[in-house]
């Protein structure tokens, strides 16, 4: 193996196609004449019994080829990914505004839309639960509440020298992948179905399409070349439109495309879970935690979807990087009449961390100690002590103390703290704030069985290579990284390798490309396939070319066999002539992980990824408006497989996190209708929202576990770096009242909320005096 590509800043393999408009997304596929457009009608009610559904006028509307409702589904109606609860089309009642009622296929999209308007549906309204507190009061849960515990939090709390309690409401987030949900269904012979979908999870989609059609997985093929962004929003949420397209294609025998327009997409599909975190902690005079009790209440929406795994991950990250000797961490999966909340970059982890970061923040102000010092004093140990997480995994690879020290120095944290204090003392309207937040993020799917991957590598007898693996490309550069791995195995240039679309016919039974694990899993599986072929080639060389099989080396498009150098193409040609198989599948299952959901103890994560960020903000105390002036990030990507792609993940993750925590506000009205369903009302960061001064660096180190190339996953973790901006805003708000009182500020910290927090803290200061 050579090391010519791994670790290099290679551009994205599709970049040339992106910039010329030649990259093909689902909506760009040229469809055969006679294809149809599907439109899915959505419920206007958050919770109601459907008393009648008359679709006769829809059927006779111009251009309509088929109209289907739940009664027309030949197979199963429920497409819940893990647990039941998600009907492909409403089956007698509706549980959220935006739920799919029926689907129409017509010659054009506007014909289908116009037809759908002619439906006559009557409802009996039912009580709708629209917020977390009501759900809790009524005991409306997806599963019974549960807890992770370590030590005795209640007893330790009672004994603690200092106690504090608090709460934080955390907003949800729409993915706003630039390419919305879309699928094309092409019926084949024997009732087979070929689906082109923008999905992170082709295997599950294949399974669900088969299920609604009353077929089996062998009858359905799913292909995805690339997605126009996903961020978790296409893990389960791609399935409904694909199933609806497949149903319409079956009903008509024609090719059907279903594409949600932006408003429909935002109303119909799941989002990041809003959370409420309530906490009570005990700590000593230095701010070191003795005990912590957390209640994490997740707004799961109307169905389970992935909520249980997401709540698990939130609880697994309630410690962030901090040692909790005594902890009671409770999780409440609240069922509400909203869209079913789903995976989104971080998968509950960000909400988990935000809770304890609020704790650190409050303790610091309560004791009059700099937040950074409270942070450092509570970190996990490095010497085998203070290293057990509440769920029993030991933190064996802790680099946070070192990483934070480096960032403290490189960001001039202390110096700037002094300057900011002086600035705030001399300015009444403009207030600056500064905060450093660390992150520790567990890498692996918490459902252990998902940590497996497959690949299929073909070496053709001209020396070119086709690479297939089960991961999907959503912009993160997964295909590029896996190609770098395979190119180094065979010592060939990257352009000798063709990266193909992900296809359920080539690699079966795959897990979603999620949990940041795409490269870790698929890189290993592809390497395994390559090594299988290389083992055959070595045996061939030993037998036919008299080589010592161990001594083959692959580099620069050549193979060195003992003293002899052959071109790779020449060598594989000879192997082919001697009837050596040049194609192999590969497989990988992450080692070391075990987790017992019954005891909630084990080692759910193969390793942890770390990072920290310092953000400085300025807040206008008269308007609540704020800006990030500077952000410094030090992030741990292990030995990065591709620093250029990883840098993009870090920058993009921070900005996406900044949007989540400061501008992107999901707002449902009293009837359960999402009112912020377009970028005009839902504010996504634009180029102007970038920190004026943005400095990103990699922590120098390598993965201590034998992960691909000793790298670390980098998809999700950087999102959480943006919490530094939220706590910097909190710092600025607190400065209005002398940095002694803890602001009441929820996320997203919109100007309106910041202004309210400022008014509130001023009032509390005044009543105190």
């Amino acid at each position: 193996m050579s090391n010519q590509h791994m670790g290099k800043a290679v551009p994205h393999d599709s970049a040339a196609k992106h910039v010329t408009g030649q990259a093909i997304y689902i909506d760009d596929i040229v469809l055969p004449a006679g294809h149809l457009h599907g439109y899915v009608s959505m419920s206007p009610k958050a919770h109601a019994q459907i008393t009648s559904m008359d679709l006769s006028a829809v059927r006779t509307s111009p251009g309509v080829a088929a109209v289907i409702s739940a009664t027309d589904v030949p197979g199963a109606i429920d497409i819940g990914p893990v647990l039941p609860g998600d009907p492909v089309l409403a089956d007698g009642w509706v549980e959220y505004a935006g739920q799919a009622l029926f689907a129409v296929a017509a010659g054009t999209e506007s014909e289908a839309r116009a037809a759908a308007k002619r439906a006559d549906i009557t409802y009996d309204d039912l009580d709708a639960i629209l917020d977390i507190e009501t759900a809790r009061a009524q005991g409306s849960y997806i599963v019974e509440p549960y807890a992770i515990t370590v030590g005795d939090a209640q007893a330790a709390l009672a004994k603690s020298a200092n106690q504090l309690s608090g709460k934080l409401a955390i907003g949800g987030q729409d993915h706003f992948y630039l390419e919305g949900q879309v699928a094309v269904a092409m019926p084949g012979e024997d009732g087979d179905m070929l689906i082109y979908s923008s999905t992170q999870h082709p295997s599950e989609l294949q399974h669900l399409v088969a299920k609604v059609l009353g077929k089996s997985s062998k009858d359905v093929t799913v292909e995805v070349r690339r997605m126009g962004g996903a961020f978790g929003g296409k893990e389960t949420q791609a399935a409904p439109v694909a199933c609806q397209a497949a149903l319409l294609a079956t009903a008509t025998g024609r090719v059907v495309k279903v594409r949600l327009d932006r408003d429909d997409d935002m109303m119909a599909t799941g989002k990041r879970h809003p959370f409420h975190v309530n906490w009570r902690v005990g700590f000593d005079a230095d701010g070191v935690l003795d005990a912590a009790a957390f209640d994490y209440l997740a707004d799961c929406g109307y169905s389970p979807d992935l909520s249980l795994a997401i709540l698990d991950r939130a609880l697994f990250h309630a410690d962030n990087g901090y040692f909790l000797k005594n902890a009671l961490i409770r999780g409440f999966a609240c069922k509400t009449n909203k869209v079913s909340m789903t995976a989104f970059r971080g998968f509950g982890g960000p909400q988990g961390m935000l809770g304890i970061e609020a704790v650190i923040d409050d303790i610091a102000r309560h004791l009059g100690i700099d937040r950074l010092d409270v942070t450092k004093r509570n970190l996990y140990g490095r010497d085998g002590t203070r290293d057990a997480t509440p769920y029993g995994q030991r933190v064996e690879d802790n680099i946070l103390p070192e990483l934070i020290d480096q960032l403290e120095a490189s960001s001039d944290y202390r110096q700037r703290r002094t300057e900011i204090t002086a600035f705030n003392a001399s300015h009444s309207h403009l207030k600056r704030g500064l905060a450093l937040t660390p992150l520790k993020f567990g890498i692996s799917f918490t459902a252990t069985f998902l940590n497996q991957a497959g690949a299929l590598v073909h070496v053709y007898n001209d020396g070119s290579i086709q690479l297939n693996h089960g991961g999907t490309e959503m912009g993160q550069g997964l295909n590029t990284k896996v190609a770098q791995v395979v190119a180094d195995e065979f010592g060939v240039p990257l352009d000798a390798i063709k990266i193909t679309a992900t296809h359920t016919g080539k690699v079966p039974n795959t897990s979603a490309t999620a949990a940041s694990s795409g490269t870790d899993l698929n890189g290993m599986a592809a390497r395994d396939a390559a090594q299988t072929i290389k083992a055959r080639l070595a045996a061939f060389a030993a037998e036919q070319l008299g080589a010592d099989g161990e001594n083959l080396s692959y580099a620069d498009g050549n193979v060195l066999i003992g003293e002899k150098t052959l071109t790779f193409a020449g060598f594989v040609r000879q192997a082919y002539m001697h009837r050596i198989s040049l194609s192999a599948s590969g497989f990988y299952a992450t080692p070391k992980i075990t987790y017992d959901p019954a005891t909630r103890q084990g080692r759910p994560f193969f390793y942890y990824a770390y990072g920290a960020a310092v953000s400085e903000v300025v807040v206008d105390a008269l308007t609540g408006e704020h800006r990030v002036l500077r952000a410094d990030i030090l992030h741990d990507a292990g030995r990065s497989l591709n620093p250029a792609l990883d840098l993009g993940q870090i920058e993009g993750g921070y900005i996406q996190g900044l949007g989540w925590l400061t501008t992107e506000e999901l707002w449902w009205d009293g009837e359960g209708n999402l009112k912020t369903h377009a970028p005009s009302t839902y504010k996504i960061p634009a180029a102007g929202d970038l920190p004026a001064d943005f400095r990103v660096a990699f922590f120098q180190g390598e993965n201590r576990e034998d992960n691909i190339g000793r790298s670390k996953a980098v998809g999700e973790p950087p999102l959480m770096l943006a919490s530094s901006a939220f706590f910097a805003i909190r710092d600025a708000v607190a400065s209005v009242a002398g940095n002694r009182l803890n602001p009441s500020l929820d996320t997203p910290a919109t100007p309106e909320k910041v202004l309210m927090a400022i008014e509130d803290i001023k009032q509390r200061r005044d009543t105190e005096q």
Binding site: H12, H18, G21, L178, R262
Partner: protein, 161 residues
């Protein structure tokens, strides 16, 4: 709806097509002219993914009627490269990793093209403002801004048109 003949110049070539009066420019470009490089991101004039140039000015094709381009000069992402030779902006977005998922990229490049034609040497602030109508959900904009700066330098050095 009455069809009428729409005459315009698309990527340097004159065309005449029978088009319904209510057809959007983006549908004309993608479906009638078959150029799918221009993307539909938000369906409502708020993300910039559908940006094309009309007489050299950035225009959102998702909220423009095709008829409004009658007699005008429309340029899409497909017009920039000459054969396999990428334009300055395309080269820069490629090499500086200005794209991740690539879905915002055609609109981003066309908006940048409009900007650079008017202002060949924009400051970072001017680039941020010039691209303020274009959402990218992946990159965090850092590499997009670097790409535009890099392209401005390339153009100044006479590399690519």
């Amino acid at each position: 709806m009455e069809k009428s003949i729409l005459r315009l110049t698309l990527n340097g070539r004159e065309r005449a097509d029978a088009v319904d009066g209510n057809v959007l420019l983006i549908d004309y470009i993608r479906e009638i002219a078959g150029l799918t490089g221009t993307k539909m991101g938000c369906d409502g004039g708020e993300c910039g993914a559908c940006t094309v140039l009309v007489d050299g000015e950035p225009r959102l094709a998702c909220i423009s009627l095709a008829a409004s381009a009658e007699g005008h000069d429309v340029e899409t992402i497909e017009s920039l490269a000459e054969g396999t030779r990428l334009s300055a902006l395309q080269k820069s977005f490629h090499q500086k990793l200005g794209s991740q998922c690539g879905f915002c990229t055609p609109g981003m490049i066309m908006a940048s093209e409009g900007l650079l034609r008017k202002n060949p040497d924009p400051s970072v602030e001017e680039i941020r403002t010039g691209l303020s109508g274009n959402i990218c959900r992946c990159t965090g904009y850092v590499k997009i801004i670097e790409s535009v700066q890099d392209a401005a330098e390339r153009k100044a050095e006479g590399d690519a048109a």
